[in-house]
Amino acid sequence: MSEVKFSKEHEWITLEGDVATIGITKHATEMLGDIVFAELPEKGSTVEKDGTAGVVESTKAASDVYTPVSGEVVDTNQSIVDDPAKINEDPEGGAWFFKLKIKDSSELDTLMNKDEYDKFAKETSN
């Protein structure tokens, strides 16, 4: 599996062959607070880089989830729809959102690595 990459919209992405797994970062869940609702893209649909691909809602507000790369949705994680609290518990592990068959692996080149993202998250949250 590839190195984990991160987007400025606080999604993480890993790549295995041409299938990417995408979720939201721990930092994002800390900003959102208790997550109580999740909506995922439809399996078989195509999503475009930086387009919306889902929604999460905390007790306070709704936020869009974006996709950091383009592709076709090949799988979604129904368990976080049934129990959205899982997203707070294990955001960068079991609580992934969706898997994409990616269109263009070079789209990952623009994303941040862990150190860059941690720095970015720290700067933008102050």
């Binding site: 607070g33 208790d34 109580v36 609702f37 905390s58 007790t59 306070k60 507000a61 709704a62």
Partner: protein, 367 residues
């Protein structure tokens, strides 16, 4: 304008509060553990709320003040006993609500608790209505602390002996630590609890004392989920200048004895609406599934007929599901009416339901 801070601001900081601006004040929205934990802790133990941003208006006077206030509020104040509180409204001539409030008859006159965002304007309106006959003090030297939840009576009574003898919606002056506190048994969560009016310089120590006894600070986020589960209105959401108490389904708060003769501001409109009904009315709404419908969500009957709008909506931690309140056309206001909510361009099923979502546990019969 510079943001205002309550006398507990430093304490909030030390408890890792996340702050928001609310009605010109820097207020804690939540602390470290998050809204759901805080909500559940209040329902099972005892939560402390800093509500010092709210207005504490003392109006001093005797029976003549009671007479004047009856021209303003839809209450039978003549027969209200000393130290008893009533929920009421400050209205305009069309019964539009300037503010909702709690008024308590005290020995010196009346104490009125006002919403933070409305208090200055309320003071102006009441000053104009009452003229200069009565001394009025919107007291900025006092903080207001609420303590809510089943353990609150035990905790508070260990600091202020005798509060356990108060009935719901009554209050009294108590002496504690060489100071006079005004304590009412009331609140905004659906739980048993108290609100304590205390001088600013004593507030922090008092709250630290409550924390030592096992209560915890709770932010405005959980205050909102708690009040929504209890079916209680929030000014600026369920209530505003374009809504009347009848439309807000709060006719219980209007004293029956005042309805026959009127004589309070807005009485004509209220009496008409009591007879003919209002065209829209506040209801409880439960979305099916886990969908959350926020304020301003449009409500439909069938697919194309809009019948109303949501005024508050969130996830109810104790109900363990989404809940909302809103206004719908009266013909669709019956419990179990199926409706549709438009969220992010799609329509989702929901049902009109009875309020509250969560059973209240007020203590009514102590004495």
């Amino acid at each position: 304008m510079e943001i205002k801070k309550t006398s507990l601001n430093k304490l909030h900081q030390s408890k890792h509060a996340k702050f928001v601006e609310f009605a010109g004040y820097e207020m804690p929205i939540q602390y470290g553990k998050g809204i759901i934990e805080e909500h559940k802790f209040t329902r099972s133990h005892s939560g402390i709320f800093d509500v010092s941003h709210m207005g504490q208006l003392f109006i001093y006077g005797d029976e003549s003040l009671t007479e004047e206030l009856e021209k303003i509020f839809p209450l039978d104040l003549k027969n209200l006993q000393q130290n008893c509180s009533k929920y009421s409204f400050l209205m305009n001539e069309d019964a539009g609500i300037y503010d909702d409030l709690i008024i308590t008859k005290i020995e010196e006159g009346y104490l009125i608790i006002l919403n933070a965002a409305c208090k200055e304007k309320d003071f102006e309106i009441l000053s104009n209505l009452l003229g200069k006959r009565f001394k009025m003090n919107l007291d900025n030297n006092r903080s207001l602390i609420a303590i809510q939840g089943p353990k609150s009576v035990e905790i508070l009574n260990s600091i202020i002996n005798g509060v356990d003898q108060l009935n719901f919606m009554t209050g009294n002056w108590f002496d504690s630590d060489n100071q006079k506190l005004f304590v009412t048994r009331s609140g905004y969560t659906g739980e048993d609890g108290f609100e304590i009016s205390i001088s600013n310089d004593k507030a922090e120590k008092f709250v630290e004392n409550l924390i030592e006894k096992g209560a915890q600070l709770i932010g405005l986020g959980a205050r909102d989920t708690l009040r929504l589960e209890a079916g209680l209105c929030l000014y600026g959401h369920e209530l505003d200048i374009n809504k009347t108490p009848v439309e807000a389904n709060l006719r219980w708060a209007i004293s029956k004895s005042r309805l026959s003769n009127g004589g309070f501001i807005g009485s004509k409109k209220i009496m008409n609406q009591m007879q003919d009904g209002a065209s829209q009315i506040r209801v409880g709404i439960k979305p099916e599934g886990r969908l959350i419908a926020r304020e301003k969500t449009k409500i439909f009957k069938d697919t194309d007929k809009q019948i109303g709008e949501i005024t508050s909506g969130t996830f109810g931690p104790s109900v363990n599901g989404p809940i909302a309140m809103g206004y719908v056309d009266k013909e669709f206001s019956k419990v179990d009416t199926k409706i549709l909510l438009e969220v992010r361009g799609k329509k989702y099923p929901a049902n009109i339901c009875a309020l509250p979502f969560y059973k209240k546990s007020y203590v009514k019969g102590v004495n």
